[in-house]
């Protein structure tokens, strides 16, 4: 795969190489969904190989040799990919994290930021939607049960708020994790003002929910 990337970068602009590799990934993903067991394993192995080639050698070559004229269309290509990826299911998360890793290794900060922002927004949308559904069930008084005193054999309860269901507590944890990831990205780039704005905005969003 590294040889293909090397040859492709020598003869074509990086955006063409990216298109070639991302098309290969899309085709392999389609094939993977059609199959089970050993066949699926084979295609998944090829998928992992392609992902690591893009995030590894391709991204590093782009960072080392790419010039401004070539990087702009490449960043646009990946930003379009980020915009087209919706939801917070496993596939969408995998895509967005792939874009973020590529952006990080290729030093395309806007791609990395875009992917992390999209992850955070998707996680928040899921959290908000599920929280809106929750009150109907959550506001019912909990059934009175004889809760035994906690000892080494009683399971620890999930740390959730009074009006939260287990599902919304998990969603809020996802949203929190994405927020922390994005904040770490801003911290690593010394973009503290952006980090502060993000925290303020997320606090406002949280206040609106309560």
């Amino acid at each position: 795969m590294n040889s293909l990337i090397e040859v492709s970068l020598k003869n074509e602009p990086p955006v063409k190489t990216a298109q070639r590799l991302e098309t290969l990934i899309a085709t392999l993903q389609t094939e993977s969904t059609k199959q089970t067991n050993y066949e699926k394993y084979k295609v998944d192995a090829a998928l992992r190989q392609t992902y690591s080639a893009i995030e590894g050698s391709f991204a590093k070559d782009v960072a080392a040799f790419g010039n401004t004229d070539e990087l702009k269309p490449l960043a646009d290509f990946y930003n379009r990919g980020i915009a087209q990826t919706n939801g917070y299911d496993d596939t969408a998360q995998k895509h967005l994290r792939h874009f973020a890793t590529f952006g990080h290794n290729a030093l395309l900060t806007d791609v990395e930021e875009g992917a992390l922002l999209k992850l955070k927004e998707s996680a928040f949308t899921i959290y908000k939607t599920n929280l809106a559904k929750a009150p109907a069930t959550a506001q019912q008084p909990p059934a009175k049960t004889q809760q035994p005193a906690r000892n080494s054999r009683t399971p620890q309860t999930l740390n959730k708020g009074a009006n939260e269901t287990i599902s919304s507590a998990v969603d809020s944890q996802h949203y929190y994790n994405e927020l922390v990831n994005l904040l770490s990205f801003y911290d690593s780039r010394a973009a503290f003002d952006k980090g502060a704005q993000l925290l303020e905005a997320s606090y406002q969003q949280g206040s609106d929910q309560r």
């Binding site: 040889s3 090397e6 290969l24 392999l28 084979k42 090829a46 392609t50």
Partner: protein, 88 residues
């Protein structure tokens, strides 16, 4: 007992292609390599990738890219029985 180099075998044709590259006959070398590839009984993508790798090592990167593309096409026709490895 030395190895007999027969021009008709894929290995022999590959050596001829190398000589053609050294003579500066790029198009002839690619054609010879293609003949070697077609005469090989192995129709798997990894076989095409091997020839593409040879072209890359000889500095014919544009021609190598065409071979890699062909290898990818062959691979995608049946990805379940092949590997996406460029080297054997």
């Amino acid at each position: 007992m030395g190895t007999i180099l027969t021009a008709a075998t894929p290995n022999g044709l590959t050596r001829i292609a190398l000589v053609q590259v050294q003579q500066g006959k790029r198009a002839d070398a690619v054609a010879t390599l293609r003949t070697a590839m077609n005469s090989s009984k192995n129709s798997l993508a990894s076989s095409v990738f091997t020839y593409a790798d040879k072209l890359r090592q000889w500095g014919l990167s544009k021609e190598a890219l065409e071979f890699y593309d062909e290898g990818l096409k062959r691979y995608l026709k049946n990805p379940y029985e092949q590997n996406l490895t460029l080297r054997i």
